[in-house]
Chain length 195, copies 2
DNA sequence: GTCTATACGAAGATAGAC
DNA sequence: GTCTATCTTCGTATAGAC
C-alpha cells in the first residue's frame, strides 16, 4: 500500500472489506461470492488474492472484524454521553435505520458470522471478540452510572443479546415491533434494577 | 405416502426434513447441500424432487417450519406446568444441552432461516410464524400468572430475543456464559416486573 | 497491482429407465 | 418411489502476462 493516502479515500482493499460486510449482513456469508464483492465494490478482479492470499476465509474474517470494530465505535460514542440508557436508545435507533433503509433485508454481519461459522473459524473468532468488546464497553458505562459491578456484566450481555435477537426477529417479520418491544422492556429493566 | 405407517417410524420425506433441520442449525442454509442431506438421512437420492418438487427452497422452508413447530411443542409442554419462570429455565436448559452436546456447533435453525432469508423467502415466512407462535404461548402463560396483559407481549418478545441472541453469542464464544447471564437477568426481570 | 484465462469441483435441477 | 446419468451454472482458486 502506498504511503500517500488522501483523507476520505479508500484503498481497493478497504473497499472490498466494507462491501463484503454490507453484503454479508444481507445475504449471509455463504451466499456472498467474490463476484458479488467485485461487482458491488468496483474492485479489480485480479487483485483479490493479492490483497487476501488466504482467499474467502480471510476476506470474511476481516469483514467481520471490521464490522465488529465499526459497531463498537458507534456504541462507545453513544456511551460517551454518560447515560447508558440514552446510549442504548441511540444504538437501537441506528439499527432501526439499518432495517428500514434496507427494507428489512439487512441484519448484523456479526450474527451471520456466528451462525455460519462452521466453515469460517476466523469469522467466528472475530465475532466472539466483537461481542466481548461491545459488552465490556456497556458494562463499564453501567458501572460508572451506579450499577453493581456484579450485575453490570450480565446486564450488558442481556442488552446485546436482546437487541441482536430482536434484529433477527425484525428481519423475519419485516417489522420493527420486536425491536420496539425489546427497547421498552430493556429500558424499564435497566432503570429499575431489582434482585 | 402409504396409509400404513407404523408408530415410531419415519417416512423418507420426514427423515429428510428432520435431517435438514439438524444440518441447518450447524452449518446454515447455504452451506447445507442436497448431498449432505442424502448422506446424513440415508434417504435415496432419486426421491428428492419427488418429495420436494419445489427443490431446495421447499425443503428448507419445510425444515424451518418443522423446527419452529418442534420448539413450540417443547415450550408449550414446559409452560403447561403453570410457572412461566420455571418453564423458561427448562427451555434454556434444553438449549444448553444442544450447545454442549454439539460442542457449540449447533444453534437455532430458525435464526439461520432469518439470517439467510434473502434467497429463501419461504424460510423467512416460516421463521416469522415460529417467532409469533413461541411468543404467543409465552405471553399467554405470563398473563395467566398475573402479568399485565399490556406487558406480557413485550416481555415474551424480550425473552425469546434474549435467548436467541445468547445462543448466537454462545456459539461464537464457545461458552455457556452468555446464556447463563441472560437467564439470570431474565429471571430477576420477570420475577420483579417494575414500570 | 491488476489483467486474462483457466483449472477444478460442487452445486441445483432435469430426463427417462425401472 | 427410486435409480442413474447428465446438463448447466457457479463457486473458489491458480498461473502467468503486463
Amino acid at each position: 500500500m502506498s504511503v500517500i493516502m488522501p483523507a476520505g479515500s479508500l484503498t481497493s482493499r478497504e473497499r472490498m472489506i466494507r462491501t463484503t460486510a454490507l453484503l454479508v449482513r444481507e445475504r449471509g456469508i455463504e451466499a456472498t461470492s467474490f463476484s458479488d464483492v467485485i461487482e458491488a465494490s468496483g474492485a479489480p478482479r485480479g487483485s483479490i488474492y493479492h490483497h487476501f492470499p488466504g482467499g474467502k476465509s480471510q476476506l470474511i474474517a476481516e469483514a467481520t472484524e471490521w464490522s465488529g470494530a465499526a459497531i463498537a465505535t458507534g456504541l462507545e460514542r453513544a456511551l460517551a454521553g454518560g447515560d447508558p440508557v440514552a446510549a442504548m436508545h441511540a444504538f437501537i435507533d441506528v439499527w432501526r435505520g439499518v432495517l428500514t433503509e434496507t427494507n428489512f433485508d439487512a441484519g448484523c454481519p456479526v450474527v451471520a458470522a456466528s451462525v455460519e461459522s462452521a466453515a469460517n473459524p476466523g469469522a467466528r473468532e472475530a465475532a466472539a471478540a466483537a461481542f466481548i468488546a461491545w459488552e465490556e464497553a456497556l458494562a463499564g458505562a453501567l458501572e460508572e452510572s451506579g450499577a453493581e459491578p456484579d450485575r453490570a456484566g450480565s446486564l450488558a450481555t442481556l442488552i446485546v443479546a436482546a437487541i441482536e435477537g430482536a434484529i433477527v426477529q425484525c428481519r423475519a417479520l419485516r417489522s420493527l415491533d420486536p425491536l420496539d418491544r425489546v427497547e421498552r422492556e430493556l429500558a424499564t429493566g435497566i432503570a429499575a434494577p431489582t434482585g
